[in-house]
């Protein structure tokens, strides 16, 4: 049995985990040293016993379901039974299938490492064929006749969780939304920063998960959240600035008409808008909460702006109405470039999920253009209404709050990390509130 393990790992992330899989077939390595693996491989031996008539090399025994799963990733259905792991790209060249009856497996450029246990024996127990450890996925994927194109990811999604005859192999965990939801629940219960994989595992209570799976998932989860929040914090800052200046501009319009304008113009060309494009939620996390902060800033404008003639049919006088609508509108719009605009040409129908472009709403940049003169105008005329500071009006707050109360299913607008349940309850108990919701207000 010929087993070769390629050892290149360029990515640190999966490295630790990858190393585990290299223990496969170590017994075969006795006579092989790392440096001359390929030289040690006697290709002739490999080819022996191959039935030229068949496509499928005889020695590989794969579960039919594995086969089915990997049909995505394999070009052909013929799976190399005895396969040679190719360590370098150079060796693997383009692919393996060039040779007759070959069993060479191509490795991905630097992303994957192929661990192949070629077996010429027919023992099914260990004839796992090849396994490809994909660094990025920390997964073991069977991909015998894969060309260079990256298919590991696809196939890894289907990687058999249950086909794991050898304990040493790492099984790819398929993080379904349901699974992830349970994971998040467990993490939130413990508190993100305090969540320990072993405890998470306990709480989740799923057999097929190893502590390792959880640990790596947790790591990804944390870094993702951190990234999002940092961006959102920055975005929030920018939009607050904008809001400040816009509102302040209008607010002061009555007082000092000329002073306002200089404040406005330099700031209207907001760079933060570009940062909106960077909001790209990782869909794997299943959180719909990201990057909504921008558009949610917008609804604040209408209450502050008087009705400048520049605006299209203005419905701003009823701030409560547009506000909740906007919140609804953008709940599921992670990547929409045309997110919130402050101009409300007409009342919007409440579309909670994914309608990002509401007819009649000018796109974001158009909004900018309108906004500027719009604010400038009241500066030159006495605005009819006494403008408050940029603090929100009571009605809009009330509207927002009642909205939240009535629609608890809406995702979080900012997507902040939820507080640890235990922490909050503990603190409240200390404050003298035994349980919530309290029976009295």
């Amino acid at each position: 049995m010929l087993a070769v393990s390629p050892l290149r790992s360029t990515r640190d992330e999966g490295q630790g985990e990858m190393m585990e899989s290299f223990s496969i077939g170590t017994d075969d390595f006795a006579d092989l040293s790392e440096g001359n693996l390929l030289e040690s491989i006697n290709f002739d031996d490999l080819f022996m016993g191959i039935n030229d008539d068949e496509d499928v090399l005889p020695d590989l025994e794969m579960d039919p379901e594995m086969l089915a799963e990997f049909s995505l990733s394999t070009e052909e259905s013929d799976m190399a039974s005895s396969s040679v792991s190719v360590e370098n790209n150079n060796k693997s060249a383009d692919n393996n299938n060039n040779n007759d009856g070959n069993n060479i497996v191509t490795t991905e450029k630097q992303d994957e490492v192929i661990v192949i246990a070629a077996n010429s024996s027919s023992d099914s127990g260990s004839s796992r064929g090849e396994e490809i450890v994909s660094k990025s996925d920390e997964s073991v994927v069977m991909n015998p006749s894969r060309k260079e194109s990256e298919k590991g990811r696809k196939s890894s999604n289907h990687a058999a969780r249950n086909n794991n005859p050898q304990g040493k192999r790492k099984v790819k965990v398929d993080w379904t939304p349901e699974l992830h939801r349970r994971f998040v629940q467990a993490v939130e219960q413990l508190g993100v920063d305090k969540a320990v994989p072993s405890r998470i595992l306990e709480i989740m209570g799923i057999d097929c998960l190893t502590r390792h799976n959880i640990a790596s998932h947790l790591q990804k989860y944390r870094s993702h959240r951190k990234h999002l929040l940092a961006r959102e914090a920055e975005a929030a800052r920018w939009s607050q600035r904008k809001q400040l200046l816009a509102a302040a501009g209008v607010g002061r319009g009555g007082g000092s008409k000329r002073e306002v304008n200089p404040w406005l113009t330099p700031t209207m060309g907001f760079p933060p808008m570009t940062s909106m494009h960077h909001f790209r939620p990782l869909h794997v996390w299943g959180h719909q909460t990201m990057d909504q902060s921008f558009m949610h800033m917008w609804p604040k404008h209408p209450p502050y702006l008087p009705s400048p003639p520049v605006w299209p049919p203005q419905t701003a006088p009823s701030p409560p109405a547009p506000d909740p609508l906007y919140w609804h509108q953008h709940q599921r719009a992670p990547n929409a470039p045309t997110r919130g605009t402050p101009c409300f040409p007409q009342p919007l129908t409440t579309t909670r999920f994914g309608s990002q472009t509401v007819p009649g709403i000018p796109p974001r940049h158009a909004m900018y253009q309108i906004l500027d003169p719009g604010i400038g105008i009241p500066a030159s005329q006495t605005p009819p209404r006494p403008l408050v500071d940029f603090h929100p009006s009571k009605e809009s707050i009330d509207a927002a709050i009642s909205d939240v109360l009535s629609k608890p299913w809406l995702p979080l607008p900012l997507g902040l990390k939820a507080p640890a349940l235990d922490g909050v309850m503990g603190e409240l108990q200390r404050q003298g509130i035994p349980k919530i919701p309290p029976s009295y207000a």
């Binding site: 603090h391 939240v404 900012l414 507080p419 309850m425 603190e427 919530i436």
Partner: protein, 93 residues
């Protein structure tokens, strides 16, 4: 519904409400007041959840606080300029 899940749901609710208030650029105190007035949530609960949120989202709240402070100072500066201008205009008369 058992206690723990309803508590969790309640906390989630308060969390969400707080996020909405943040969108309004409110301070913690303003938020406590608003939630108490509009949603009948005890200020101590609001404040506790707020503090816990702050712990979990330090970066965000730091940025938030900073921006609020900036806004406040900008507002103040503008006011000062305004008063100076109006004063000077009065003098001219």
């Amino acid at each position: 519904m058992e206690d723990s899940s309803s508590s969790a749901a309640y906390i989630r609710l308060v969390h969400r409400l707080i996020e909405e208030c943040i969108l309004f650029n409110m301070s913690k105190e303003e938020c406590m007041e608003a939630l108490s007035k509009h949603a009948n949530i005890k200020p101590v609960i609001t404040s506790t959840v707020w503090k816990e949120l702050e712990k979990e989202n330090k970066e965000f709240f730091e940025a938030y606080t900073r921006s609020r402070a900036e806004r406040a100072s900008e507002r103040e500066t503008r006011q000062r300029i305004q008063s100076v201008v109006s004063d000077s205009s009065k003098e001219r008369i």
